[in-house]
């Protein structure tokens, strides 16, 4: 014998729908007993509630677009870091690296040519100022 009467069963069906297994756990046992004791009345009430469940279920679970899914995944922390790294390596990064290499090449070239120019003058300067530390030419170069 269930502690649940028809009015309570009707209220619960109206609240939780026509499928007793979707009702709150603590109500199910009494509901199932009521169903066993009054099958016809219970089924009628459940069918009524189930009709609304079915109408609501027509909407179904939406399917996310691939664009939305990809945008969300691309924003995940590590993936975002990796994407930045990949972008850097594949595009702008390589460009920047090449530009940096070019600039450093030019700088080195200029420095070398300056060194050579200085080198060519070194003997004269060296002869004038043999013990001056400020002149930065290495001894080997200056002596060669």
């Amino acid at each position: 014998m269930s502690g649940m009467d028809a009015a309570r069963f009707e209220t619960l069906a109206g609240t939780w729908g026509g499928v007793i297994t979707r009702w709150p756990q603590d109500l199910r046992e009494d509901a199932l007993i009521f169903l066993a004791d009054h099958p016809e009345a219970a089924r009628c009430l459940l069918a009524d509630a189930q009709a609304l469940d079915e109408a609501l279920d027509v909407l179904g679970l939406p399917t996310p677009t691939a664009a939305l899914r990809d945008t969300i995944i691309a924003a995940a922390p590590a993936i975002r870091r990796r994407n930045i790294l990949l972008r850097w390596l594949s595009g702008a990064g390589i460009g920047a690296a090449l530009a940096a290499a070019s600039v450093s090449g030019i700088v080195v070239g200029v420095q070398v040519s300056q060194v050579e120019a200085v080198d060519s003058r070194s003997e004269a300067v060296y002869s004038v100022s043999n013990d001056d530390d400020w002149y930065a030419l290495p001894e080997t170069e200056s002596q060669s």
Binding site: G14, W16, I72, A75
Partner: protein
């Protein structure tokens, strides 16, 4: 979440596959607008990615946390709508059922979407959490910051209003 925080791509993809449709559904049913629902779902994940490194396992259910964020974002938008009434309804209404369910289902879908949209916000929230999101009464009540009895009252009134609005569908 720990794997997500470590940048495990498979974990990220699995989380998105599992949670995105649910977040989208929640926002779509609450807002009745698929474009806005996408914005909300995306924002929920942006916050989830931010939260991932600080997530403490067992402190709270991640699904509940996501629901709370999504609901708050939906209420922000509903509030904004009330403050700035739109001259026209949104371009993209809830599209209703999948195309393969046919014209009759599509009509029903539009009717159900309209009936849901006509509910007071709190009743709609109760229906969405309990029916569509399939949350238990205790979890749904906690998300809504109400007692279980209050949740049941909101849910009962919401379903009664829906049944009245959709009564002719049974015939």
């Amino acid at each position: 979440m720990a794997r997500v925080a470590r940048g495990d791509q498979a974990a990220v993809q699995a989380l998105v596959a599992r949670k995105l449709p649910r977040m989208l559904q929640l926002a779509q049913r609450m807002l009745g607008d698929s474009a806005e629902a996408e914005d909300v779902a995306q924002e929920v994940f942006v916050r989830a990615w931010r939260q991932a490194p600080r997530w403490v396992p067992g402190a709270a259910k991640f699904d509940t946390w996501m629901h709370r964020v999504a609901i708050n974002l939906c209420y922000d938008r509903l509030r904004r709508r009330r403050e700035q009434p739109m001259a026209e309804p949104p371009d993209q209404i809830d599209p209703g059922p999948a195309p393969d369910r046919g014209l009759l289902a599509s009509d029903t879908g539009v009717r159900v979407s309209a009936a849901l949209a006509a509910l007071p916000d709190r009743q709609r929230e109760a229906v969405v959490l309990c029916h569509y999101q399939d949350l238990g009464n205790i979890e749904a009540a906690a998300l809504m910051n109400v007692s279980v009895e209050a949740l049941e009252s909101l849910l009962s009134r919401g379903r009664r209003a829906l049944r009245a609005a959709l009564a002719d569908l049974k015939e």
